[in-house]
């Protein structure tokens, strides 16, 4: 099945390993990936402040119009912020007359046809749950990750505010999602009981003023350690980068000694599928190397 793919800005920088592992793993599960031509930034969680609500709509309308040209009904992205913005603006264009007209005028200014909001936008995890299914993931595993203990940290925007809605494909719950643990177990690893699985790392506020949000990330690390996790798995590129790059600052501030690798479920799958640890799983891009997982990888 063909899907139009929106890589998002992090795919070219801090989230390259998410992009690379997604491109490696999804075709193995029958999902063909075709990029949106000349995609742009979604505006993330600050575009409405920096540019304004309608300029933020403009960014997303352009992406959706370009996605429409691909000719596939379904669009997906691996980034939580890209998902939220693309999905939300798609629904606004579909359901809100005023927004639809504004989008049409904006697109016209760029020489594009009006867009009616008829594409379906998904998160990569929703695609795995609703279009692929865990049985298929399990079937593809040739190198089960036996003995690897994984704390599944879902984060915020991957499930909120859409996962429990019709438009979110009802793919999991807001408060106690289990898809991430299901992926871990399908890969043959052990999903440890991880209580703060939908806790927030601080998001972009953690990037702006880390000193104020380090306590949020400290809790996430403490609970992973208590649960005996070897790695934390998260689907969100900002969660991954924040929790990885601030561990040293946390250790300095709180006198702790954390050194816990934070990986993407796509990286776990790539290793469990027996794929290349560098080219496919991109494990060399984690600044805290997941050594136990690297040792399990087929060379």
């Amino acid at each position: 099945m063909k899907f139009t793919y929106y890589p998002g800005c992090s795919s070219e920088a801090t989230g390259r390993h998410l992009d690379e592992s997604t491109r490696a793993v999804f075709p193995e599960l029958g999902i063909e990936v075709e990029d949106i031509e000349d995609w742009n930034c979604c505006g993330a969680s600050v575009g409405h402040i920096g540019g304004g609500p309608l300029p933020q709509l403009a960014l997303n309308a352009r992406n959706l119009a370009n996605a429409k040209k691909r000719g596939n009904e379904h669009v997906f992205t691996s980034c939580a912020a890209c998902y939220l913005n693309t999905h939300r603006n798609n629904l606004a264009i579909r359901d809100n007359e005023k927004k639809r007209q504004a989008a049409a005028e904006i697109l016209k200014a760029g020489g594009e046809e009006p867009y009616e909001g008829d594409l379906k936008v998904h998160h990569a995890m929703e695609v795995l749950v609703n279009f692929v299914g865990m049985d298929k993931v399990k079937e593809r595993v040739t190198n089960p990750l036996k003995g690897l203990k994984v704390a599944g940290w879902v984060g915020c925007q991957t499930v909120r505010p859409f996962a429990e809605t019709d438009d979110g494909g009802h793919y999991d719950t807001y408060e106690d999602p289990h898809f991430l643990d299901d992926i871990t177990e399908a890969c043959g690893a052990e999903a440890v009981d991880y209580k703060p699985k939908t806790n927030c790392c601080g998001g972009s506020v953690a990037v702006m003023k880390p000193e104020k949000t380090l306590h949020l990330m400290k809790l996430l690390l403490e609970e992973a350690e208590k649960a005996g996790a070897d790695v934390i798995s998260t689907p969100c590129p900002l969660c991954q980068t924040n929790l990885e790059m601030y561990q040293e600052a946390i250790n300095k501030k709180y006198g702790t000694n954390f050194n816990i690798p934070v990986v993407f479920p796509q990286q776990l799958m790539a290793v469990a599928f027996g794929m290349d640890p560098v080219k496919d799983a991109a494990l060399h891009r984690n600044t805290i190397r997941a050594e136990k997982l690297e040792k399990m990888a087929k060379k």
Partner: protein, 199 residues
């Protein structure tokens, strides 16, 4: 869009009415029953002066200056926990975000030297100039919006992280990544700004 009214007397509902008409999600604001589920669920509530529950009451009380100067607008991490938990179905996060956009537009944010405002401006500069977020340039521009000395200090503080990212190939060296059709995006954003002005 009409100008934001400044309430002049007690029980002046003009600001609340304006928010209802002009702020995304604002039409649901009068559903709020002040239960506090939103503020109690907030991961960053301790950094906020009011929290969403109190903020919404302040909108209804017409406290325009206090609402638009509130740190609550800038401390929201957009985690949407309040949004999905609100028993009255109020899109709490959306309203807080759009009140922040309003505060930025009305000049309340720079007055209060808000980090989120500087960050948003740096972010938007990249999105508008290149069509993409260049994480390194956004971060540097953000750091230096506090002045040269502070910019250097923040940059040095983060040097080790940056070097780690470069080593892992997650921060590129050289010119920013850009979209191909920059002039098209420019025309579209100009149109969007024009529509926003008209309201």
């Amino acid at each position: 869009m009409t100008a934001v009214p400044t309430p002049s007397r007690t029980y002046d509902l003009s600001f609340a009415r304006w928010v209802r008409e002009n702020v995304e999600g604002g039409d649901k604001l009068n559903m709020c029953m002040q239960c506090g589920m939103c503020s109690g669920s907030c991961p960053n509530g301790q950094e906020m002066d009011n929290g969403p529950r109190k903020l919404f009451m302040m909108v209804r009380a017409g406290l325009k200056d206090e609402v638009l100067s509130s740190s609550t607008l800038w401390e929201c991490t957009s985690c949407y926990r309040c949004y999905v938990r609100c028993p009255r179905g109020i899109p709490v996060t959306t309203i807080v975000q759009h009140l922040a956009a309003l505060a930025a537009k009305e000049g309340y944010a720079p007055k209060n030297k808000v980090e989120n405002y500087f960050f948003s401006k740096a972010f938007w500069w990249s999105a508008e100039s290149f069509g993409k977020t260049d994480e390194r340039l956004v971060t540097m521009k953000y750091f230096f919006s506090f002045g040269f000395g502070e910019g250097i200090r923040k940059a040095l503080d983060n040097l080790k992280i940056a070097l780690g990212m470069i080593k892992a190939g997650r921060m590129h060296i050289g010119l920013p990544h850009t979209i191909k059709n920059k002039s098209q995006l420019k025309a579209m954003i100009a149109k969007a700004k024009e529509l926003e002005q008209k309201g």
